[in-house]
Subunit: 344 residues, 2 copies
Amino acid sequence: MLLTDRQLLILQVIVDDFIRSAQPVGSRSLSKKEEISFSSATIRNEMSDLEDLGYIEKTHTSSGRVPSEKGYRYYVDHLLSPQVLNQHDVTIIQSIFAEKIFEFEKIIQRSAKILSELTNYTSIVLGPAVSINKLKRIQIIPLNKETAVAIFVTDTGHVENRTFSLPPSVDASDLEKTVNILNERLAGVPLEDLNDKIYKEVAMLLRQHIHNYDLMLHTVADSLKMPINEKLFFGGKTNMLSQPEFHDVAKLRSLLTLIDQEEWIYNLIRNDSAGIHVKIGRENNNSVMDNCSLITATYSAGVENLGTIAILGPTRMEYSRVISLLQFLSKDLTAVLTKLYQNK
Amino acid sequence: MLLTDRQLLILQVIVDDFIRSAQPVGSRSLSKKEEISFSSATIRNEMSDLEDLGYIEKTHTSSGRVPSEKGYRYYVDHLLSPQVLNQHDVTIIQSIFAEKIFEFEKIIQRSAKILSELTNYTSIVLGPAVSINKLKRIQIIPLNKETAVAIFVTDTGHVENRTFSLPPSVDASDLEKTVNILNERLAGVPLEDLNDKIYKEVAMLLRQHIHNYDLMLHTVADSLKMPINEKLFFGGKTNMLSQPEFHDVAKLRSLLTLIDQEEWIYNLIRNDSAGIHVKIGRENNNSVMDNCSLITATYSAGVENLGTIAILGPTRMEYSRVISLLQFLSKDLTAVLTKLYQNK
DNA sequence: TGTTAGCACTCCTAGTTACCGAGTGCTAAT
DNA sequence: ATTAGCACTCGGTAACTAGGAGTGCTAACA
């Protein structure tokens, strides 16, 4: 069943007003709005219909109306007018990229911070996937007789390191030979494929040159097993405290506890498909998130999807503004990254 | 003016009871305790005296008594019976060190987590000072024509890295020579002294061997300027939410916001002197912390003070237990670190 | 002189009542 | 189809009322 233009208008104004005020919207206060030219009685009739259709709800028998999840969904899908960012926001976002960029993590971290400051919601940024970066160089540096640290540098300048036990029989020249072989064979290989390649291609070579090669091999390969997890960055974790829907300490507690579970957040925002996604309330499949919406956007380098930026707020969220901000930031991040990765 | 034994007993029982129940303590409920053998009237008289002396307070005219900051202070300084940790706590703390230790950061992180779980307060751990670690090896790895990444490995296996712009005139052999000279001259030098040493001892050598040595020099030295800050680790940031004194969202907000300001926390817990320190309420010099106490302990390697572990909770904190836990953990951390650093 | 029983008084808390106002649904008039 | 009018609902606030836990003081007691 299709909504009439007037119903659309009323739904839009209700959502807008409730997003602004956090108060249930009544027919009389609606009728006073500029954009509305009909009486409160008419509005009451329309609201009654909208309620029957499930787009709005009452908090109690004689209260004003509040958007339902279905209402928000419709609002996001059909009523959102693409908003142009004001110059102030644009300037602030661009300030993220002002300095010369060497460490991409810094950029990501700053993005999270600024995003949360601009929106007053909680921002979550999933750092670029390191595991698809290609190996530039391996170094193994012995610390003492028993331990050494292996250092992996990617073509993007990211550095991973692992400390491991040296097999007792290995001497300095063995190490050097191993490192040479590894560099020769593994340069340009994505980190996620290293383990595979080591066993398939490097093992044989090592056997020819190194005494006790298998211990060495396993040790190095093992040190790579530890997953190279993308890092999560947060901004404004405490912003939720200023949202009236979280004045209840119990709710607050469960939400903040959830946010602290990185694994869960990781699965939540790790989006398969590119672009902007809006998940409203129960669409997040967790009762703690019932009053929350999550908006995610992806950023990439060239065609390769690299990471996600997300905003977590109450369902009563400024969807239009947040979407614009995410779109803009995602575009900028992609531009910077594409340039960075092209440079190799 | 000295307190009588009976006053001490009463003060102690009041603090103990209030720490447990968070409710003002009345004379009648006190008189029912085992350890107390005199009537409620007597207790009322004594309490009145204790109040005059400033050790306890009323929340309103006819309420029970609550310890004042002065009361807590006296309790901590004189009435605390050194508590023996139960086996359960000991086991859990020791589990931190169960795995083989390569990355000390992991240990620190786990310590923070477990400490907050054992206490239900917020734990803060200041990671070991990296800047006093000695340089084991420098590596410089060019990423492309314009940029390279410098990697600094310490004798403890810690890895720092900095990306920087390559001066246009530098070629591969220059880089190699530079790295060799740096390693030759700087191995064993604490990170915090590197910058100094580079200008004092390495500059001249570089001049002899490298074309355009000064650009190279400045670039490498600059990349070291970025301060190597000790990292802060937190555990149980949300534990405050379950404390009844923070059922007020406004207070909660200001406290959590404060906790998120790393710079401030850094100064708060960065203790000059070794050992356990207890700061109660206003002793922390911040109105947001008026209802909070902070207990800090230091850990070290050999004689060298390395870092701090701290517990932040309400003034109504289980001082005895927390102090025991911190003492125990601090001792263990010190033992592990001392061994680790001895090993070179 | 130190201790205790007794008692009047204070003040918080929880429950009750009353009332106001914003809002609704329905009906009848336009 | 729209709107004015009206009765009704219900949440929120304020005012009031016990009940109870606690205090301070006084007077009796060991």
